[in-house]
């Protein structure tokens, strides 16, 4: 009797455990979480439907998950994604970049540009004070940027600032930038969080530990930092100099923002569901499905200023041949790639400029080599290849099979992407091998040019990105394609100093046309993120470059 009972008991345990552990982790979570939420899908409301008549209430704390702890908050220290997320709340910039990529007054009330474009003068607004009481004046701005330019600076702005000859403080509120040549990128540089103004007195007082005691003038100020765990900001009551496009130019309504460091995405999701986290970014389809059904969540799609592409090393034969590159581009079904590898979380791309960047030309769509195996075969025949009976492409000259190796970093979702591309190209008769390396190693191999094709991604906030990655002057550093085209170089150089927006866009149009024709890169897709917020958070603003502005935001009771 007891034996029977025992066997029953044993199998019960076994069944219970296999049910829990047998599935992949994400599926387990999904099935566990979905059940209670499903009933309420109907009542979920979107932010636009929320009545806006309510009066914002002061107070409340929100917690935002970040995947990695910033190494330092000093904008001139080592840059990191965590730092980039937190800085805009702590610091104010001279100018504000709007979602339509136009620039609005912020700390600078207005600005003038000299005739030759080489002198830019910013006029600062009065009455701005840092969190430590120091007045924010022209001297503070000069100090901040001098610090960026000094030797040994780790600021990501260093290369953009190399065009600056001198920065002068004139009186209390005039800052003069003297440039070596006119710059079309100065404004986008100055609107990034890394160009936020810091308190000179605090920087001198704290010295090396300024990175954990950052003092700026932003809507929130640093309250505490628990190492490895969280960073807490508290509202700056004196704040009254927010950019005028916000409805609240005074102190923010929220009392505190806590940035909680949670490296694992599944843990971030769990923390949202348990109510410990109110804001997070996700990009995994499985997580998206879960949160879309959660009545406590509002989900906002964010297109990033980024592009994922296949870059050829044009020096590695036979990839110097433009026809071959185009043919390979036509063998890749980008729509299928995004569907299969990303669950649709991305937008197929054809231009080397991300569709969110100024200068992107949508009209060039028709000129781009679409998925078309017939065309691809024609091009390959022209380029001196023939299709063998077994469907493989071989070089007519030496009988060698057409094959390529894709280099990529191990970062997700690269492996999945590379595998789907491999599959598509092999279907079309091209052999593909995949080489995955840890991201630093991959980057080193790529810079040395020791590869054929790389699966890569850029995140950039200006059309100047083409100059950085594809101009011949950058061969040896960032031009890892070793692509050299004098015509393109000239266009990109004139675009960089062209201050007239219309003319500049025309130049970038030409550049895109050349690159679409020559395909040194096969643009694959523009990645998307999803911003998830607790549903009672109202009036947040999604700025450009995925920046979440919370000065207007408040918590509905």
């Amino acid at each position: 009797m007891s034996k029977k009972f025992f066997l029953f008991f044993f199998f019960q345990i076994l069944i219970f455990l296999t049910a829990c552990v047998g599935n992949p982790i994400s599926e387990t979570q999904q099935s566990v979480i979905n059940e209670p939420a499903e009933v309420q899908v109907e009542v979920q409301s979107t932010p636009s439907e929320m009545p806006k008549v309510d009066v914002p209430a002061v107070g409340g704390t929100i917690t935002r998950a970040i995947s990695s702890e910033p190494a330092t908050l000093d904008p001139s220290g080592a840059a990191s994604s965590g730092q980039n997320v937190i800085l805009p709340y702590l610091l104010d910039m001279l100018i504000y970049r709007d979602v339509d990529n136009s620039y609005k007054p912020y700390l600078a009330e207005k600005w003038t540009i000299s005739e030759d474009g080489r002198v830019v003068t910013f006029f600062l607004r009065d009455g701005v004070k840092f969190h430590d009481g120091t007045p924010l004046n022209a001297e503070a701005v000069r100090f901040t940027y001098q610090r960026v330019m000094q030797e040994g600076s780790k600021s990501p702005l260093v290369s953009s600032f190399s065009n600056i000859e001198a920065i002068e403080a004139v009186g209390e509120n005039q800052v003069v930038f003297r440039l070596k040549k006119p710059s079309a990128t100065l404004f986008s540089t100055l609107s990034t969080a890394y160009a936020g103004i810091i308190s000179p007195t605090a920087a001198e007082k704290y010295g090396d530990s300024f990175g954990i005691h950052l003092v700026g003038s932003g809507p929130f100020q640093l309250e505490s930092w628990k190492p490895g765990e969280s960073i807490t900001l508290v509202r700056n009551e004196a704040y009254s100099w927010g950019p005028s496009i916000l409805s609240n130019s005074g102190a923010p309504y929220l009392e505190r923002i806590i940035f909680q460091v949670i490296p694992d995405m599944s843990s971030q999701l769990a923390a949202f569901q348990s109510g410990e986290v109110d804001i997070l970014f996700i990009n995994q389809p499985a997580h998206l499905d879960v949160l879309r059904k959660d009545p406590a969540a509002q989900v906002v799609e964010v297109e990033l200023n980024s592009l994922v592409y296949l870059g050829f090393n044009v020096q590695a034969e036979p990839f110097g041949d433009q026809r071959l590159r185009r043919a390979i581009a036509q063998m890749i079904d980008k729509k299928e790639l995004v569907e299969i590898a990303l669950g649709g979380v991305g937008k197929p791309a054809f231009s080397p400029l991300a569709s969110t960047l100024p200068g992107y030309d949508a009209s060039l769509r028709d000129e781009s080599p679409d998925y078309n195996l017939v065309e691809a075969e024609k091009l390959l025949n022209e380029a001196g290849y023939e299709k063998r009976a077994d469907g493989k492409w071989v070089d007519k000259m030496n009988g060698k099979e057409l094959s390529l190796e894709i280099l990529a970093s191990t970062r997700p979702p690269n492996e999945t992407l590379a595998t789907v591309i491999q599959n598509q190209l092999q279907r079309a008769g091209v052999n593909v091998t995949i080489k995955l390396l840890e991201s630093k190693a991959a980057s080193e191999v790529a810079t040395q040019g020791d590869y054929q094709v790389m699966l890569w991604r850029y995140d950039w906030n200006d059309a100047d990105v083409l100059n950085v990655y594809l101009s011949s002057s950058r061969i040896g550093t960032t031009n890892r394609s070793f692509y050299s085209n004098p015509e393109l170089d000239e266009i990109l150089e004139s675009a960089a100093v062209e201050l007239n927006e219309e003319k500049r866009n025309q130049l970038y149009s030409q550049a895109q046309r050349i690159l679409i024709q020559e395909q040194p890169w096969i643009p694959l897709y523009v990645p998307k993120d999803y911003l998830v917020l607790r549903s009672n958070l109202s009036d947040y603003i999604m700025g450009p470059m995925g920046r979440l502005v919370l000065t207007d935001a408040w918590l509905k009771p």
Partner: protein, 317 residues
């Protein structure tokens, strides 16, 4: 005189051995970091920096000097108690590690304590009721718990206790409540091993002639257990637990990651990715040092329990 010297040497010998272990661990960490591709400059300025900025920084951080000189410098500073400054975070390494070291110690020792308590209790219960229903259930339960890796039980715990029941926080590490779930995930597999170890040792000992003799002499069961069986059976368990502390000190990274627990393990892993070698080295050296101290302590406890070791037979670990 010579006798005294030899005696002194005999006392110091184990310490020397332990110090050499620490040094070798540090050296290995240094070499592996040097050999791995990429360097800390990439972490600092990203992939888009100009060659000039890179070479400036390399010079400023002393990375342009030969490996041997940098290593010698590091060791000399280290001996002076200067662990250096993090290349990426720009703060003293000792501060960075110190901020998190307490958390790691807390998690490690609470897990080991919990696991040992349950392990010994269940192991004893199992051995005392050998082949009973209780014994078999404990056997099965431990087999199952051993098969579940700590990170997957961690995820299950979060789902159950944080998301569904809302009893305990899913992430963070600032209060004792934050400690419960990570401790539980780490100690369950460990408790299972200890249970099995204690059980099999006890069953072995129970079958020995000296136990029969002791009972025959008229000793009470309590006396026999306390003075004979437990003493003999627990020695290997103590060794095992000591080794596990070393394993947990650095190996809890996955659990630290799932619970976003601010421990040293995550700091070191991040530093490895950043190639921030002062942080990696200091972390590795401190953890090895601590592990060696725990091992020394384990040896001491063994000596207390087992007179055979006390009287001169060297221990293996």
């Amino acid at each position: 005189m010579a006798e005294a010297l030899r005696k002194g040497f005999n006392i110091l010998k184990p310490f020397a051995g332990r110090l050499v272990t620490v040094w070798v661990a540090g050296l290995l960490a240094f070499m592996i970091l040097e050999m791995s591709p990429g360097d800390v400059i990439q972490t600092l300025v990203g992939d888009e920096a100009s060659l000039e900025q890179i070479s400036n920084l390399r010079q400023q951080l002393d990375l342009d000097r030969p490996l041997l000189i940098r290593y010698t410098d590091y060791i000399l500073n280290f001996l002076r108690g200067d662990f250096g400054t993090s290349l990426v975070r720009g703060r003293p390494v000792l501060q960075l590690v110190g901020e998190r070291f307490g958390n790691t110690l807390l998690l490690t020792f609470s897990s080991v304590l919990l696991a040992s308590m349950f392990g010994v209790v269940f192991g004893m219960a199992s051995a005392m009721r050998y082949r009973s229903l209780l014994d078999t259930s404990i056997l099965i339960a431990t087999t199952v718990f051993l098969a579940i890796p700590a990170f997957s039980s961690a995820i299950l715990f979060v789902q159950l206790f944080s998301v569904h029941l809302g009893w305990l926080p899913a992430v963070g590490g600032s209060s004792l409540r934050h400690l419960i779930l990570p401790t539980l995930s780490l100690s369950i597999p460990l408790a299972s091993v200890i249970t099995r170890l204690v059980r099999s040792r006890l069953i072995d000992e129970l079958g020995q002639f000296y136990v029969t003799t002791a009972f025959a002499k008229g000793m009470t069961a309590r006396q026999v257990w306390k003075n004979h069986i437990l003493r003999n059976a627990l020695t290997p368990a103590v060794t095992f637990i000591g080794l596990q502390i070393g394993h947990l000190l650095g190996g809890a990274v996955i659990v630290e990651t799932v619970f976003a627990y601010p421990g040293v393990g995550r700091l070191i892993v991040q530093a490895i990715f950043d190639q921030d070698y002062p942080v990696v080295l200091a972390g590795v050296i401190l953890l090895t040092l601590l592990f060696q101290m725990v091992n020394g302590l384990t040896d001491g406890i063994q000596r207390l329990i087992d007179p055979r070791i006390r009287e001169g037979n060297e221990t293996v670990c």
